[in-house]
Assembly symmetry: C2
Homo-oligomer: 187 residues x 2
């Protein structure tokens, strides 16, 4: 047969992910990627088709990385308190120390908010809807809330979570804590 790959696919995807995470999609060039990943452009295109293909793999990789946090959130039995804990978990630099600020997925959601990229938009919408659904389920465990209230609060929390991810890139730990605490004051 033929020559085998000189690189570990999972390893190079992680390197790509960290670069996309730090810079966003548009501000990461294929030249930067080949340096960070340590492989030639040809190999990138052979393995992932194009820049967007590599980006989608990076998103998948990130989802796998934060999966444990999501599982913890899903499996919690403390209702609304689980949501609050989820907020706190999500602003802690999840994987390693560095310039990785905010949630990679939410950053991406922001970057593509007005873009017309269908494939990535679908990914993002699904992700946000998934979180919202979890919020709704957690909120429903509080029997005193009517369905109307649950939906309003889920919307509120989703926007708050969204803003939080943006804030975590620029604001101090104290400011972020204040924000989370006040956000949950009346939920």
């Amino acid at each position: 047969m033929a020559r085998s790959k000189q690189y570990n696919e999972q390893e190079v995807i992680e390197k790509a992910m960290s670069l996309f995470w730090r810079n966003g999609y548009e501000n990461t060039s294929v030249r930067m990627l080949e340096k960070e990943m340590g492989i030639n452009q040809f190999s990138i295109y052979a393995a992932f088709g194009n820049k967007q293909g590599l980006f989608l793999e990076s998103l998948k990789c990130y989802k796998r990385k934060v999966n444990s946090m999501f599982e913890k959130f899903k499996n919690g039995t403390n209702g609304i308190n689980d949501i609050k804990e989820f907020f706190y978990d999500s602003v802690q630099t999840p994987i390693e120390v560095g310039n990785y600020k905010g949630c990679f997925l939410t950053n991406t959601y922001n970057e593509f908010a007005e873009a017309e990229d269908q494939i990535i938009n679908v990914q993002m919408t699904e992700f946000m809807e998934g979180i919202k659904q979890l919020f709704i389920e957690k909120l429903r465990t509080d029997q005193s809330k009517g369905e109307q209230t649950v939906l309003k609060q889920a919307n509120y929390l989703l926007l708050a979570k969204h803003g939080l991810a943006a804030a975590s890139r620029v604001n101090s730990k104290q400011e972020i804590e204040d924000y989370i605490e006040l956000t949950f004051k009346n939920i």
Copy 2:
């Protein structure tokens, strides 16, 4: 003497502003600007120095445009209720109908959050600090709040306002209303 300008400077700045507002700084090229403004690149560079110079003029122009909203906010006498009204005012498409989503300044703040562009960063920080200071003053009118509480709530509101501007680009009017209402339940 010499030839006079064939274009109205204020008019072309407004056109530039609308383009920057819709697309952000990086996603607006000088070629796009010369088409929108209806003048040649040479004239742009002669009048504004460079792309950043034109962008700063666009920011100034926007500030002038929304100044009446700010004046109303400053001069209000209803304390915290003024802040809430300011939130509502700021999500209404301020100047004309179109693709102008969110607050141009906050969009810019988000775009340059991690950038190293000093001049624009200073502009943005001053703007955000100005809003925060106004929040603080309004909150202080409620005598029952301690200074600690005022500062925490000002931080909270600033992040909420910030998130709101992002949300106004993608979320429905209803979702945004729910968000504002619940935000102020916590104050």
